[in-house]
Symmetry: C2
């Protein structure tokens, strides 16, 4: 591992982000790695960029995109008006897994949430990713909630 | 049950919303029902109102606030740039529980998410709310994910 840096994703990073989403055993079934990029990804990138409470981040190492994640900063009334930081879409380039990059990404993400004033960080982990539960627990996350999903597309 | 209506929460509804948050077996431990309202709730209300991807809704029935919930519309790159609708802070006035209001609220919330273009609705349910799991499952939600939480305040 060299010295990975974190920054906000730019439009020019989107191909690399989509490639990481495709290169995942769950993502392979539902993403589209074709070129030119599926217009849905471009529209989504623009929606994320427009919303100041969304932070799509990439991890760069020696000029290469090696990881990505999305932070959502969510204001709410409950728990004395607590802000939540939500982490979604964490991916690491397959050739760079097992080097501790995930830990660095979460340390960075949690620090960003703290800096934004969030008092809680949350995420929903697919229960079939059994290997990642222990990883999250090692970071201090508790599996205190059921992550309930309802698809609206009939798929 | 009369004919409940749904609308965006106004500042004048905030006391009633906080009262519903307090009147909950989990909320009782962590909310503050004092008057004047804790300034943290007012700041949170303003943050929610400023963010066009947040929709704090109240349910009104015969001039009384009988329920509330918050929708967060979250853009993202994954799943072909799918928008998610997230439901948080669902509360029903204690005197109005058991009338089917919850079902009406979720029907409304899911329709709002659909209208906004969301292809998935998600929420995280505290595992100690065992009575509500069946309710969500009856709406079609699947407990496919672990809802992981990390507190940042040391509490």
């Amino acid at each position: 591992m060299t010295n990975p840096t974190f920054r906000r994703a730019r439009r020019a990073d989107l191909e690399a982000i989509v490639d990481m989403l495709v290169d995942d055993y769950i993502g392979a079934k539902r993403e589209d790695g074709s070129r030119p990029l599926n217009a849905k990804y471009v529209a989504a990138f623009e929606a994320v960029a427009r919303d100041e409470n969304q932070y799509l981040a990439v991890v760069e190492d020696e000029g290469e995109i090696v990881g990505c994640l999305q932070l959502s900063f969510i204001p709410g009334i409950a728990r004395l008006g607590m802000w939540r930081g939500q982490i979604e879409g964490v991916r690491i380039k397959s050739t760079r897994r097992g080097e501790g990059l995930g830990h660095k990404m979460f340390d960075w993400a949690i620090a960003e949430c703290r800096a934004k004033g969030c008092e809680m960080v949350q995420l929903a982990m697919d229960k079939t990713r059994t290997d990642t539960l222990r990883f999250y627990e090692s970071l201090g996350f508790k599996a205190s909630h059921e992550g309930m999903k309802l698809g609206l597309t009939g798929k």
